[in-house]
C-alpha cells in the first residue's frame, strides 16, 4: 500500500477513534441522563448538561470528518455501505437528529418547564438507541456478511446488520460509551457525593463492558470468522488487545482507588485501543471480505489533495479545539455561578 493510503487510512481510523471518545462520551451522557436516579437526580442531570453544553456539537463533527474521508478517499466503500446499511443508517440519522435538536432545544429554551423536560426524555432515549445502531453497523461491516460485486450489494439490505453478532457489537458500543461517560463525569465535579454516584455507575458499566465484550468474542467465532482469526491470529492484533486489556484493568483499578483524572485517561486509552484493534483486525478490508482499502481507493491526485486538506484542517482545528477544552476545563470564575449567567449555562431540571 502507498504512503498516501496508509496516512489516509490512519486518518480514517483516527477520526473514528476521536468520534468514539468524544461522541461516545456524549452519547453516554445521554444514557446517564435517562438513568439519573437517587437523591441527587437533578444534580446528576445538571452535571451532564454542564459538561456537554460547550462541546457537544464539536464532538459530533468527528463523524462528519470520518464520512467525508470515506467518500472522498474510499468512494466505492462509501457507496456499498450506504446500500447495505441503508436501514440502520437511516435509523441512526433519526437518532442523531432527535438527540442533537432535543439537547439544543432543552439547553437554549428560556424557561425550565414541562416542554424542556420532554426534550430531555427525547434526548436521552435517542442517546441510547443511536450507539446501538452504530455498533450494529460496525458489526455488519466486520462480520463478512455483506457481499459485494463491483458497486452492487448482493447480500440484501437486512440480514447483515440484524445478526446476533451485530446486535452484540451494538450492545458493547452502548456499554462502552456509558462507561466512558461515567468515568469522564467523575472528574467533572468536585462534589464528593456526585463523584461517588458516577463512580458507582462507571464500575457497573465497566462490568457490563466486560460481559458484552465476552459475548461479542463468543459470537465472533461463528458470526465473524475473519475477525475471530484476526483477533486471535496476528501478533500485531494480539499486542493491541493486550494493551486494551491492560488499559481496562488500569481504569478499573484507578476507579476503585478514586483516582478520577488518571482513570479518565485510562478509560479513554481503552476505548481508543478497542477502535484501533477493530481496525487492525479487519485490515486490509474496508468491508469484509469484498472491499479492500486499495480496491476502494480514489485516484492518487485526489488522495494527495485530501491529505493536504486534512493537514491544513488539522492545523486549524487542533489548536482551537485545545483552546476550547482548556477554557472549559478551567475552574469557573466566581462571578459566574450557575444560574446567574443566563440560561445558556443554567442547570437543566
Amino acid at each position: 500500500m502507498s504512503t498516501e493510503l496508509w496516512l489516509l487510512g490512519g486518518a480514517l481510523v483516527g477520526s473514528f477513534v476521536l468520534y468514539a471518545l468524544f461522541g461516545g462520551a456524549d452519547f453516554g451522557g445521554g444514557v446517564w441522563d435517562l438513568l439519573a436516579s437517587g437523591p441527587r437526580k437533578a444534580e446528576q442531570r445538571a452535571l451532564i448538561a454542564r459538561a456537554l453544553g460547550p462541546v457537544w456539537e464539536v464532538n459530533h463533527v468527528w463523524l462528519i470528518i470520518g464520512v467525508v474521508i470515506l467518500f472522498g478517499v474510499f468512494p466505492r466503500a462509501f457507496a456499498v455501505l450506504s446500500v447495505a446499511l441503508h436501514v440502520p443508517l437511516t435509523l441512526l440519522l433519526l437518532g442523531i437528529i432527535f438527540r442533537g435538536t432535543a439537547f439544543t432545544f432543552r439547553t437554549y429554551d428560556a424557561r425550565g418547564d414541562r416542554v424542556q423536560r420532554r426534550w430531555g426524555l427525547v434526548f436521552s432515549v435517542a442517546s441510547v438507541l443511536a450507539p446501538v445502531l452504530l455498533g450494529m453497523c460496525v458489526g455488519a461491516v466486520v462480520s463478512g456478511d455483506i457481499h459485494v460485486r463491483g458497486l452492487k450489494v448482493e447480500s440484501g439490505f437486512i440480514s447483515a446488520w440484524l445478526s446476533p453478532f451485530a446486535l452484540a457489537v451494538g450492545v458493547l458500543a452502548l456499554c462502552l460509551f456509558a462507561f466512558l461517560a461515567a468515568v469522564y463525569l467523575t472528574a467533572e465535579t468536585s462534589e464528593p457525593a456526585l463523584q461517588e454516584d458516577f463512580r458507582r455507575r462507571a464500575l457497573g458499566a465497566g462490568v457490563a463492558v466486560f460481559l458484552a465484550a465476552l459475548g461479542v468474542l463468543v459470537l465472533a467465532r461463528g458470526g465473524a470468522p475473519r475477525v475471530w482469526s484476526g483477533l486471535t491470529g496476528s501478533p500485531f492484533a494480539l499486542a493491541l488487545h493486550g494493551a486494551t486489556a491492560v488499559a481496562a484493568v488500569l481504569a478499573f483499578g484507578l476507579l476503585l482507588t478514586r483516582h478520577f483524572w488518571p482513570a479518565r485517561v485510562a478509560a479513554a486509552a481503552q476505548v481508543g485501543l478497542i477502535v484501533a484493534g477493530w481496525a487492525a483486525s479487519q485490515y486490509p478490508y474496508l468491508v469484509v471480505p469484498d472491499v479492500t482499502l486499495q480496491g476502494a481507493a480514489a485516484n492518487v491526485a485526489t488522495q494527495r489533495a485530501l491529505l493536504v486538506a486534512l493537514a491544513v484542517g488539522g492545523a486549524l482545528i487542533f489548536p482551537s479545539l485545545v483552546f476550547l477544552l482548556r477554557v472549559f476545563q478551567s475552574p469557573r470564575p466566581p462571578f459566574s455561578t450557575p444560574g446567574a449567567s443566563g440560561s445558556a449555562s443554567r442547570p437543566v431540571q
Partner: protein
C-alpha cells in the same frame, strides 16, 4: 416511483437545511456587529441583542448541523452510484467544508460559553471566526453544486472518471458567480427575516428601543445584499446562458430558438403546445440580459432532445418567483436607503415598517426558489451531461417510508424552531424582559 421519492427526500432535506445553513452564516455576522456596537456605545440593548442573536445562532446552527449530517449520509443513502463513482472527483471541497464546519462549531462553543471566561477581545475574535468559517463552509459546499452544474477536472469513461484533477473540479467554470450569488442570498435571507421580525414588534410597540436598535443592525446588511444581488444574479444568468442553455430556456419558457429573444415576465409554459401563454414580453430583453447584445441568438428548448428537458413549468415558475421577490426586496432597499439619506436615521414610519414586515419572509422564499431553479433546471442530470439522476439512485426499495418519515420529522422540527424563536423574541417585548437577563447586563 422510488426515484421520485429519492429526489423528493433529497430535495426536502436540502430545502430544510438551506434555511438553517443560511442562518448559521449570517446570524454570527449580525451577532458580531451588535457586539461591536455594544462595545463602542456601552449600550445594554446591544449587549442583549448580541446575546439573543447568539442564542438564535445556537438553536439554528444545531438544527443546521444535524440536518447537514443527515445530508452527508443521504448523499450515499440515496445516490450511491453518484458518490461511489464521482466521490473521488469532488471529495476535496467536501473535506474543506468539513473543516470549516468544524472551526465554526469550535468557535461557536467558545463564543456562547466563554463570555465570562475569556478576555473580551478574544471573545469577539471567536465570534468573528464563527462568521468567517460559516461563510467558508457555504463557499466550499456551493463549489460542489457548481461542479454538478458544470463538471470539470476529469475525463468521463464508461468505467468511471480518469485523469482526475481535484483542484480543477473544485473550481469548475462559473464557480465564482454561483458562490457570490449563494453567499449574498444567505445574508439577504437572514437579514430580511430579522428585519421583518423587529418591524413586526415595532408596529405593535412603536419606539421600543431594543427593537429599533435591532432593526438598525439588520437593515444595512439587508439593503446592501438586496442591492448587490441583482448584479450577482445577472452574472450567474450570463454564465448559465453559455454553459447551460437548456436551463435558461426552461427558466424563460423559451421554446423557439430566436435572435433578439424577448424577456418573458410571468406566463405558464405548456410543453404540449410548446408555447408560453399569458407572459408579458419585453422585446429583445433576454438576448440583452444573457448575451449583452439585443440581437444575440438564444437557444430554445426545441433545439434539445425532449428527454433532456428539465421540468419546464416548475423551473419557469421558480425562476419568476426568485426574480420577482428579488426585485421587490431591491425596491424596498432603495426606498429605505433614500429615507435614511433624507432623514439621517433609519426610517421608522409605519409604511416602511409594513414594507419590511411583508418582505421579511421574501429572502427565504427567493433563496428556496433560486435553489429550485438550479436543481430542477439541471434535471434529468445529477452531473450535467455525465450522469443521469435515474442512474445514480439507490437500489434499496420502499423509499417512500424514509421520505414520509423525514417529512414528518422536518415539519415537526420546523414548527419547534419557530416556537422557540418566538419565545426568544417575546422575552424582549417591552416590560417582559426575564429577570435573569436583566440581572446579567453589565
Amino acid at each position: 416511483m422510488d426515484l421520485l421519492y429519492a429526489r423528493a427526500q433529497m430535495g426536502l432535506s436540502l430545502a430544510f437545511h438551506i434555511i438553517f445553513a443560511a442562518a448559521g452564516i449570517a446570524l454570527p455576522l449580525l451577532m458580531v456587529l451588535s457586539d461591536v456596537k455594544a462595545r463602542r456605545t456601552g449600550d445594554a440593548d446591544y449587549v442583549q441583542l448580541s446575546k439573543k442573536l447568539a442564542k438564535g445562532t445556537a438553536i439554528l446552527f444545531a438544527v443546521g448541523a444535524v440536518s447537514g449530517t443527515v445530508l452527508s449520509f443521504e448523499l450515499g443513502l440515496l445516490w450511491p452510484e453518484f458518490m461511489g463513482t464521482y466521490g473521488e472527483v469532488i471529495g476535496l471541497p467536501f473535506a474543506l467544508e468539513g473543516t470549516a464546519f468544524f472551526t465554526e462549531a469550535v468557535f461557536l462553543g467558545i463564543y456562547l460559553y466563554g463570555r465570562e471566561r475569556i478576555p473580551a477581545g478574544l471573545h469577539l475574535f471567536s465570534g468573528v471566526m464563527v462568521a468567517l468559517s460559516g461563510a467558508a463552509s457555504a463557499f466550499f459546499v456551493t463549489l460542489v453544486n457548481a461542479f454538478m452544474n458544470h463538471p470539470a477536472g476529469f475525463t468521463p469513461t464508461p468505467g468511471g472518471p480518469v485523469n482526475v484533477d481535484p483542484v480543477a473540479a473544485m473550481f469548475s467554470p462559473g464557480w465564482a458567480y454561483q458562490v457570490l450569488h449563494t453567499l449574498l442570498a444567505c445574508y439577504q435571507a437572514s437579514a430580511f427575516a430579522m428585519a421583518g421580525i423587529h418591524a413586526f414588534v415595532l408596529l405593535r410597540h412603536p419606539g421600543a428601543a431594543f427593537h429599533r436598535k435591532a432593526l438598525s443592525v439588520a437593515l444595512p446588511l439587508a439593503c446592501v445584499s438586496a442591492l448587490l444581488q441583482p448584479f450577482a444574479g445577472d452574472l450567474e444568468a450570463e454564465h448559465i446562458a453559455h454553459a447551460q442553455p437548456v436551463k435558461l430556456a426552461a427558466a424563460e419558457g423559451l421554446f423557439e430558438t430566436q435572435r433578439g429573444a424577448p424577456l418573458s415576465v410571468g406566463g405558464l409554459p405548456d410543453v404540449e403546445t410548446r408555447t408560453t401563454p399569458y407572459a408579458l414580453e419585453i422585446p429583445k430583453g433576454l438576448s440583452m440580459l444573457a448575451f449583452r447584445d439585443p440581437d444575440a441568438e438564444v437557444k430554445g428548448l426545441n433545439d434539445f432532445p425532449r428527454d433532456e428537458w428539465p421540468p419546464v413549468l416548475k423551473v419557469h415558475l421558480a425562476f419568476q418567483v426568485m426574480v420577482g421577490t428579488g426585485g421587490l426586496m431591491a425596491l424596498l432597499s432603495v426606498v429605505t436607503l433614500f429615507l435614511r439619506w433624507r432623514h439621517k436615521a433609519w426610517p421608522e414610519g409605519r409604511r416602511v415598517l409594513w414594507g419590511w414586515l411583508l418582505c421579511g419572509p421574501l429572502g427565504v422564499v427567493a433563496m428556496e426558489a433560486g435553489w429550485l431553479v438550479t436543481e430542477w433546471g439541471r434535471q434529468p442530470w445529477i452531473i450535467r451531461g455525465v450522469m443521469r439522476t435515474a442512474d445514480a439512485v439507490t437500489p434499496v426499495a420502499n423509499l417512500g417510508v424514509p421520505f414520509w418519515t423525514f417529512t414528518l420529522v422536518y415539519l415537526f422540527l420546523g414548527a419547534m424552531v419557530v416556537f422557540l424563536l418566538v419565545r426568544q423574541v417575546s422575552g424582549t417585548l417591552p416590560g417582559r424582559a426575564p429577570p435573569s437577563e436583566v440581572a446579567h447586563v453589565h
